[in-house]
């Protein structure tokens, strides 16, 4: 179970017998403001875990630290048994961990297809010289990259298909930008996919479609998914486990049914009932 007892040869590989992601006592301060105050978090391979919590609870900071945008102040992040805390974002992506953003961050002037191809590049090995000399490896990889990108986009059905592939990303509708961001993260062929509020700003029909899509990310593509989500219906529908954050610490952890009846969770979301306030 823990990082120290498993055979060393499997560290960082798919044979790692322990949990896919294991986080211990993760701490992060921003200029004296405590964003994360010692978080423990475990994700088993093949599961879908939701992270919920009130605004400012530290959910996005949690993702930012895992994906390497900010190094943690303290604590360990074991991904497939390897401590990835403090690595650069591109090194973490190389180890097959990808994420999306709450406020969609695409490359707006690149086409839809190019956005996804950029995501795929970290899995190809040819460099600038291969391109200049047009080596066979480069041509093969270039062709494979494009085919792979089209395949990833076909996961979204007719939403990102046909003429849209050649459009720059900034012309897309809001929902399509969210889909494209997921497609781009999928293109890095991750084992673990972190989705930051994938349904934010979507209408009920689009939310339903995306909920189904998150399920397919696991069943069709075999991704393990951690998502931050505010829509409790989505959380209830897709997650195996739910973790509740508040004030940078983990408040509760369990199935949706367990956490949704947890008194501390209800209190964090709704506040304390008025008659109990005096006695507390």
């Amino acid at each position: 179970m823990s990082a120290s007892t498993a055979p060393a040869a499997t560290i960082g590989t798919d044979e790692w017998p322990g949990p896919l992601l294991e986080i211990r006592d993760l701490k992060k301060n921003f200029g004296g403001i405590q964003a994360l105050g010692g978080v423990d978090f475990t994700v088993e391979r093949g599961s879908i875990v939701s992270v919920i919590g009130p605004n400012g609870a530290g959910k996005t900071s949690f993702f930012n630290v895992i994906s390497g945008l900010f190094p943690p102040d303290e604590g360990e992040i074991y991904f497939k048994g390897e401590d990835i805390a403090g690595l650069a974002p591109n090194q973490i992506t190389d180890r097959r961990l990808a994420r999306t953003f709450q406020n969609v961050k695409l490359f707006p002037n690149l086409t839809v297809l190019e956005n996804v191809m950029v995501g795929r590049h970290c899995r190809t090995r040819s460099g600038a010289w291969d391109a200049i000399l047009q080596t066979p490896r480069y041509r093969r990889e270039q062709k494979e990259t494009e085919e792979y990108a089209r395949e990833v986009l076909s996961f979204f059905g007719s939403r990102l298909a046909g003429y849209r592939l050649e459009q720059p990303a900034f012309v897309l509708s809001y929902a399509n930008r969210r889909r494209l961001e997921i497609a781009r993260a999928m293109a890095t062929a991750p084992d673990l996919l972190l989705l930051d509020e994938p349904t934010a700003g979507m209408n009920p029909r689009e939310t339903l479609e995306l909920t189904e899509l998150i399920g397919r990310l696991r069943s069709d593509k075999g991704f393990t998914v951690v998502l931050i989500e505010h829509d409790m219906k989505v959380v209830a529908d897709v997650s195996d486990r739910v973790t509740v954050f508040d004030h940078g610490v983990r408040l509760a952890e369990g199935t949706y049914a367990e956490v949704s009846t947890d008194d501390k969770v209800i209190e964090a979301y709704l506040g304390r009932p008025a008659d109990e306030e005096k006695t507390a």
């Binding site: 969609v104 690149l110 590049h121 460099g127």
Partner: protein
């Protein structure tokens, strides 16, 4: 509609509405715009009148001017690419780029001289010139990468003014290093082989071969670069880094290496321009200054950060300063207008920016505002 409706002010006419929105600065700019158009039109008409009256340059002289201007502009375009790409990725103007160009031309000169002394320049000029071009490109590439590594990388997260000032410092450092090492004399490349001098007929138009060489090499280099940037993995990585470094890193792109590649590609283009410029006009430690500033102007003219803009801006600036003085100023009756070519070049920049502040190919809205 009915009698009980309260009275309202009358809807203003379209003209009044437009005038109400017009600020003082707007009116001033419109006066300059209209004035500029009138002045240019006046100069053009004057030139046409002089031409029909048999004054001023003859038809064949105009044609030679035009070809020379395009050749000059092509070199500006090659240098401008370096300014534009670095600006696109790092958001500051690398003023040392003119010296990157100079160093390529300079070391290219030494290579050409050595090849000439060895006899290859005379016996096999095409291979010799190709070798010189490679030396020139390699030098400029090395210099651009070195400058990035030594001077700019540690300043990556500091405010943009700081690398800008640093680049001016680097520019002086390189200029005076070359002065100290090689002296102040202007050196000329070995003379071109006979088949490279004189004129060649293209569709019945005689063109100087040396200038044709410049135009062809520049066109090949630019189309190669365009293919590289739009079609290859590295090119896509460069565009991704230019749009958002943080997200590019999350996509597994090595941002540092991509920035180095950007400097290298810009340097290689400057190296090509350096060799072409050097064999036409000779090399000196100070040769990078004016072409550098002009190429920067060309990059701004075309819309900085946009590669086709840099190419088009270079050719346009070459045309403005090559043909503009005689065409406009000559038509206005100004004596020996060609001496004012630099003034015309920079006036052209000011005018383009008054009409289109983001440059010819530039985006009016920043990428951050759109997605």
């Amino acid at each position: 509609m009915t009698a009980t409706d309260p009275p309202r002010t009358q809807a203003p006419s379209l003209f009044t509405r437009a005038r109400r929105r017009l600020t003082w600065v707007d009116s001033f700019l419109w006066v300059i715009r209209v004035g500029a158009v009138l002045l240019i039109a006046w100069g053009l008409i004057g030139s046409i009148q002089r031409f029909t009256a048999g004054l001023g340059p003859t038809g064949s002289q105009w044609r030679d001017l035009l070809v020379a201007a395009i050749a000059f502009g092509a070199m500006y375009g090659l240098i401008a690419i370096g300014y534009s790409m670095v600006y696109g990725v790092l958001g500051f103007i690398n003023f040392a780029h003119g010296e990157v160009f100079m160093s390529g031309a300079f070391i290219g000169y030494f290579a050409a001289t050595a090849l000439s002394n060895g006899g290859l320049w005379q016996s096999n000029p095409i291979i010799a010139m190709l070798l010189t071009l490679l030396v020139s490109m390699a030098t400029s590439t090395f210099m651009a990468v070195l400058v990035e590594r030594v001077a700019y990388r540690r300043l990556r997260s500091s405010p943009r003014l700081i690398p800008l000032i640093t680049s001016i410092g680097v520019s002086f450092f390189l200029q005076y290093s070359f002065l100290g090492l090689f002296g102040a004399t202007v050196r000329t490349y070995p003379t071109l082989p006979p088949f490279m001098t004189g004129n060649i007929d293209i569709l019945g138009v005689p063109v100087q071969r040396s200038q044709l060489l410049v135009i062809v090499v520049a066109a090949v280099a630019m189309s190669g670069l365009w293919q590289f940037v739009t079609r290859t993995k590295t090119g896509r990585a460069m565009r991704a880094v230019a749009e958002d470094k943080e997200i590019a890193a999350l996509m597994g792109i090595n941002v540092d290496r991509t920035i180095v590649t950007t400097f290298a590609v810009g340097g290689a283009m400057a190296g090509i321009a350096g060799m072409l410029y050097g064999q036409l006009y000779g090399v000196s430690f100070f040769m990078g200054f004016l072409p550098g500033i002009k190429a920067f102007t060309a990059a701004v003219l075309g819309g900085i950060g946009v590669i086709p803009g840099a190419m088009a801006g270079g050719v346009l600036l070459g045309l403005f300063e090559g043909v503009g003085p005689l065409l406009i100023l000559g038509g206005l009756g100004i004596a020996s207008p060609s001496q004012l070519r630099d003034a015309v070049a920079f006036s052209a920049l000011v005018l383009v920016l008054i009409f289109r502040p983001s440059g010819l190919f530039g985006e009016a809205v920043g990428a951050e505002d759109r997605a």
